[in-house]
Symmetry: C2
Subunit: 482 residues, 2 copies
């Protein structure tokens, strides 16, 4: 085309071909899709200071290439994708090799795996979303949308919707925990609550005590805030060893703990009440705040809920964080912190970090909780998770080699497997990936990359024969490596 | 009551009276409200390990006090608040004095002021929420809720809903800015985007260049991340002085800039395109990333939108942040970052900080944008803001003393007033507060507490004669102080 243009007009030629190329790229990328109208000549003229003739010339190039067509006087529209006589070369194939992946690579991989329908995501951190009352929540969201007034936008600003905070305070009360409404700060899920609490309790360079193994998001947050961590020995049944923590607190200037006292991720450990009391007295002695991640609280298999460490806190040291994401409303991003004596600081951090949680989502939860049904839903959810735990344990028992150890948590949806000692979990991860099965390898749960021969499996994902086969396949991979 | 209990039962007496006191407190606080059922004897027995007799004894105490009543066999219910023969003493009165408030106190005050219907919040950072298509958004939210499937929760995880990101990329394209869909990270409003971008671009101790005056959230974020800032001279009409910034970059190891190139908060300044080009070339020379806060982009009074600095960026240095909160959907908390070469890092930061933005809110914006009407809404919104700007300027001209200076921005909804030199904006703030009028005093926009004699007024709040009178009152306060 450039050949048709006299040399003196090269500037113009560049401009129209640049525009043509750019629009063509947008079409290729899908920003503009078949049927979409190209920006009008008038608007391009304005935003790019091009003459109408230049714009039209660019659009005619696209028309010649078959990318767009004119529709009467209404403008240029993107054509349906042509299938020419010759296909484009295919993308390169083969499973990408895992070369010493960092925690970040593996975690990103875990998150992306859940998006892909042909991967069995035993690595997932989420329970099967079809276990949640999505239709009833949609109705609640609609009811919420209808009652949103201009003023509710203000009312729902941080610290959050007053009615939602009352619902949260009532639930605390029912579990035997005293939390006044004023202490509760609504957040965009528990993860934001945990991040804001940790940042409030620490300064860069500080030391934080965590469980070993610990939830990988804790490791990431600690790193991002420029903190250091100490991994404290943790029993896969009864949680962090308070004696070991006592020694750590005596020796190091620890500024905060980040712990999960119920259904810990990844072990599923739950601390008995007496250990919780012991822990909180130790924290009081050293005046160290504790960030308590309690997102699985409602997923208990015992008839009675487990109390958080917060229940035994007398001095406002425990910053309790939870959400509705794992028990009621995944995707709604409604969580909260009850940060004890740090409540005002956390509220301020939330306000200046992200202003507020979504108004309609806060109201939707309130609307849902107004009607009976929550406890019924929870009972069914717990029963399903327990049932799936049994099924997965059965296959683990059958398919994994002798020397494998496995937890049997009394809540949540994770199994924590210790593989025979010579088995490298990263190898298991890699080989399973090649079979389109993802598992969470032990080292991502440790700052020192411990747990080389551990994996975490999620038994709360959508159950199908394919899942059972996938667990068996992982078992045979482990067998082949041991 | 304790007198009725034999001495040997003092432990029991303590337990039931503690429970009675606790429930009574929950009723007083409103966690339990008139008509609410007290936790069942069975559940309290479980969570507190109390005998049914103890629980019943506690509940009978509450019944005697008139706090609750029994309804047949279904349990104990909270009574309507009794009005006894004698009222409780009233809360203490009088306007709290402002004693050297910190930025935090004042900013919290500004946020709380918008929640109070009897305060004229000229200090507000929000436009009148009744200017937004809330009913149409509610319908869009309902449509969104109905199409949410278990899988959409995964699809809408960070980097965000693909369809929403396409809408954002198209809008960029219409303004003459090239941003591929892959670069866009959906966030919980622009504020979260800005925070995540700044944190991604810096390490504690780093220096950040900002405008003088600057948006107070920038100051707060810089402080919270352990950063230092340099305030660069800024023209209230044409924005940051690029020459001054050049000197700063030559002398100091600046690691990032946080700037608003369009309708800057608080001045309303907009940089001409040639200054934007000059700025971005300067950043390229020093390889310094720029966090561009462009939340008011859609609120332009000129017929043509203003380009962001991002439009002239060739090396991916500009991290452009914006949202739908100020132009379409306040309270929905749907914003985004287009962080150039930092896109992957910002996406990771979002994922590990708060996982995702609310699914339904992302879809609601998509559903709204699918139908025509957005541009019509924007034209009306801009016209209203311009109209209110005129009204407020008129009153400012009439009511403020000679020597007052005021901006006339070509977009957004802020007026920036320079008061006669001897007038202390904190005094104006304090005196206006006493009259239930809030203004934003200059020093909150500066790390060094400059702008002692400046105030920011919001002309985009709901307009009424009361607002006009409030502006005139502020004028007379300024007059009395000058």
């Amino acid at each position: 085309l450039a050949e048709d243009v006299p040399v003196g007009d090269l500037g113009l030629a560049t401009r129209y071909s640049e525009l043509a190329h750019e629009m063509s790229e947008r079409i290729r990328e899908g920003v503009l899709r078949p049927g979409d109208r190209l920006p009008s000549v008038r608007s391009v003229r304005r935003t790019r200071k091009m003459s109408p003739a230049t714009v039209l010339q660019a659009y005619r190039v696209l028309e010649d290439r078959g990318d767009v067509r004119v529709r009467g006087r209404s403008g240029y529209y993107v054509n349906a994708r042509k299938i020419g006589p010759m296909a484009e070369p295919a993308a390169s194939e083969g499973t990408p090799k895992v070369v010493e992946p960092t925690v970040r690579d593996v975690v990103l991989d875990l998150v992306n795996a859940v998006k892909s329908p042909d991967i069995v995501a035993l690595s997932s951190a989420f329970p099967d979303p079809s276990l949640f009352p999505l239709a009833r929540l949609a109705r609640a969201l609609h009811a919420a949308a209808l009652r949103l007034t201009p003023n509710s936008i203000y009312e729902d600003l941080t610290p959050g919707n007053p009615e939602l905070r009352r619902c949260i305070a009532r639930r605390y009360m029912e579990t035997g925990v005293t939390v006044p409404i004023e202490e509760i700060v609504v957040t965009s899920g528990a993860l934001e609550a945990l991040n804001l609490c940790l940042r409030t309790a620490t300064r860069p360079g500080d030391i934080v005590a965590i469980e070993s193994p610990a939830f990988y998001a804790a490791l990431e947050t600690i790193q991002r805030l420029g903190l250091r961590c100490i991994e404290v020995p943790t029993c896969p049944r009864e949680g962090i060893q308070v004696g070991a923590l006592a020694k750590v607190l005596a020796r190091h200037s620890v500024k905060a703990c980040w712990l999960m006292s119920n259904f810990q991720n990844p072990t599923g450990a739950s601390m008995p009440d007496e250990k919780k009391v012991e822990l909180v007295r130790l924290l009081e002695k050293h005046d160290v705040p504790m960030i308590e991640d309690d997102v699985y609280a409602e997923l208990h298999f015992d008839p009675v809920p487990r109390k958080p460490v917060k229940a035994f806190d007398r001095r406002g040291l425990v910053m309790h964080c939870s959400s509705y994401s794992k028990c009621l409303a995944p995707g709604y991003r409604v969580g909260w912190a009850s940060p004890g004596r740090y409540a005002k600081d956390v509220s301020w951090a939330k306000l200046t970090f992200s202003m507020a949680a979504t108004s309609a989502a806060q109201w939707a939860v309130v609307e849902y909780l107004k009607k009976p049904g929550y406890n019924f839903h929870l009972r069914r959810l717990r029963a399903t998770l327990l049932d799936r735990q049994g099924r997965m344990l059965k296959i683990v028992h059958e398919a994994f080699p002798a020397g494998t150890k496995v937890t049997r948590p009394s809540g949540g949806y994770f199994l924590w497997l210790e593989l025979p000692e010579r088995v490298d979990a990263m190898k298991v991860y890699e080989k399973a990936c090649a079979r389109k099965i993802h598992v969470a390898p032990g080292p991502i749960f440790s700052a020192q990359k411990q747990f080389r021969n551990f994996i975490r499996l999620n038994h709360g994902i959508e159950w199908s024969p394919k899942v059972g086969e996938a667990v068996a396949t992982v078992g045979s991979i482990v067998r082949s490596l041991s």
